[in-house]
Symmetry: C2
Subunit: 395 residues, 2 copies
């Protein structure tokens, strides 16, 4: 145990892949004065990759230890993570977390708790692992020139979509392979339904535009309904289908945000982002696009993002949420998108009615699609009524 | 004039493209409490895109004004820029500059002056304009996990090289077109000789590895000797020739840094960085590569980088140069590179002697090349003896 006063003592919650990754990475960065003082795990009897005297099942061994200045929370369960985050802040500890669901659901309260207790919460590891996107939005795009942020922020679905494209296979086959490789969960809907991407988008929204909304206010369309017709359609046109999270400012000083599959063309930067990689584009008024690319998930990329946050705490870094102190951009769904919608024959009439303007229709014996203009608010209603539809943005 | 106490008053030196760009951008960011109080120009009689009562030819109108907290220096002349930077710091003003030559030549003194006078110097606009690479090295890669940084950091040469590749044209034709379009200077050696790239590399070196060296200590090989043989060679192999600045840590805790043309293969990230765009790869021990891409030059991209620095001053941001407080990595040239070297027949014997190992030789009536292994220190000697050689890294 290192009791040097300049050393940051860490209490770690969770010792799964990322927790173990962090433990290993800290061991290899002697320049950083950081010491894992205790690790709280649920089950003390479970076999671990290392035998350490630091393990405990009692969270208060960390929370009540006055020598521990930082709680690093790397557990899966968003509710348990939220409880630990609150307790840690109340006990005057800084928190580093990678739990996007917790962050997305409790952003407003997390802001409030940071103010009340004067301790920071950092969470670069929660969005695109190795890409320092929050730090860039926070520090570099802190003026009102940022117009749009969009990206591929979920590795599992990008792996599945890349697989479909490369191997000319079906959605279900690609999903199964992703599951076998450990790139997708046995219950994959969090990823395939676009929920994980939406949680990340909500975090980006707070830092990009100062807009805080609840997950249920933002539409997420996943890839789980993807069928052979649209896969074939994309192939013939030379497009790739990508799951894209995006948020942009409108001229009336509102912000539009949603997650949906999109046809991406070869000249677009996100076209080349394949497999488990992530890519994010920041579009600002005067400097065109900046593109950030890196590994979006995995134990070590996430651990090294967590480590950068820990390192930032050694010099009293905290997010300033500067955008929130500037203009407040409310959310708007009053924008028109070009959409590809595949549906079954019996719904044709009712679905056609949601479009402002129909540009293409196609049908064969098995299925049919419409391409046309639709307002985002209408799309939300459409998906609520017909959740089984396959919808792809075709802007 | 805005005399609100929370407003940052700026004294601007230079009103060329970037200066005018900054003036325009500030006008469009009302969220930022920033006011250009005075603009110092060399020639008051010159025609300007705007008529402003703020112009002066007397630098002391800025330097002696106690209301001006920030000097933004956007003049071409590195010596004049250095004089202004020193004077401004001594007068207790923060400095924002985009002058890479000045920074590279005076990095050590700039560090010292920041310490003595307690005022920051920020210079994101000096390297890759719109790509926030210094901020990322400073804030995010501040631990000792960073292994390598490499990139295309000069827009002019990248434009010329892209042109050669796309139009199947010669170096001189491509250079001429770049000059006609304003992408290259009438005396282009600063760019084509790799000097501009080296200045940027030296700035990156300070922030990536805490290593400060003088420009003359680092080898820069430019593209000015590029001939048809190697252009043809690259084309046949499916490579692109790119001018790459790179710095990496060796196992013996030294750092190697140089600028040279390199054969880049299609699977490599820098392959897709064409025209005036820049791309930088940060390679760290546990998170694989991060790739940053954006417009590397131009009035507005540079102005918006300068603006981000100004904005950072509103919350007392300064570079911490953390790497310098950690391990010191000395420069080493004791590394072996694979090189393509084209030369004229009479030098064959003497040039062959510089290689550790020769892998390929080729000759025709007009020219010949060797591909082989050479130590970087030897390459430096070789280039000093035969500056006319065309050398391309072929790792």
């Amino acid at each position: 145990m290192n009791t040097d006063k300049r050393t940051l003592n860490i209490g770690l919650f969770g010792f799964g892949c990322v927790g173990y990754g962090l433990y290993s990475v800290i061991g290899k960065t002697p320049g950083l004065k950081v010491n894992i003082k205790r690790i709280c795990i649920r089950d003390e009897s479970k076999e671990r990759p290392v035998k350490l005297p630091l393990f405990t099942a009692d969270k208060y061994k960390i929370l009540d230890d006055p020598d521990i200045q930082v709680v690093v929370e790397l557990i899966d369960d968003a509710d348990a993570a939220w409880e630990i985050t609150q307790l840690a802040l109340r006990k005057g500890k800084a928190v580093v977390t990678a739990n996007k669901k917790m962050l997305a659901e409790h952003m407003e309260e997390i802001l409030e708790l940071q103010k009340i207790h004067g301790r920071p919460v950092l969470y670069e590891g929660a969005v695109c692992a190795s890409i320092p996107i929050i730090r860039n939005l926070e520090e570099y795009y802190d003026n009102d020139l940022l117009q749009k942020i969009e990206g591929i922020v979920n590795g599992s679905t990008n792996y599945i979509l890349s697989k479909i494209n490369k191997d000319n296979t079906t959605y279900l086959n690609a999903l199964q392979e992703a599951q076998e490789l450990g790139y997708a969960e046995s219950n994959p809907l969090l990823d395939t339904g676009g929920f994980d991407a939406k949680y990340k988008l909500l975090i980006l929204l707070a830092h990009a535009f100062g807009t805080i909304v609840k997950p249920e206010e933002i539409l997420n369309i996943g890839i789980q309904n993807l069928g052979d017709l649209e896969i074939q359609f994309a192939r013939e046109k030379g497009y790739k289908i990508k799951l894209i999270a995006q948020a942009y400012r409108n001229e009336d000083e509102t912000v539009t945000a949603f997650v949906a599959p999109q046809f991406v063309k070869p000249h677009q930067q996100l076209y080349a982002v394949d497999d488990v990689y992530n890519g994010v584009i920041a579009e600002s008024a005067f400097s065109e696009n900046q593109f950030f690319y890196g590994r979006g998930a995995g134990a070590f990329p996430t651990a090294s993002a967590v480590l950068s946050d820990i390192s930032a705490l050694t010099y009293q870094y905290k997010y300033e949420y500067k955008k929130m102190k500037q203009i407040h951009y409310p959310i708007s769904t009053d924008v028109t998108l070009t959409l590809f919608v595949r549906f079954s024959q019996e719904h044709e009439k009712s679905i056609a009615g949601y479009f402002e303007k129909i540009e293409e229709t196609y049908s064969n014996r098995n299925s049919q699609f419409i391409i046309g203009k639709m307002q985002l608010g209408k799309l939300k209603q459409l998906k609520e009524t017909y959740p089984e539809l396959s919808v792809i943005v075709a802007n």
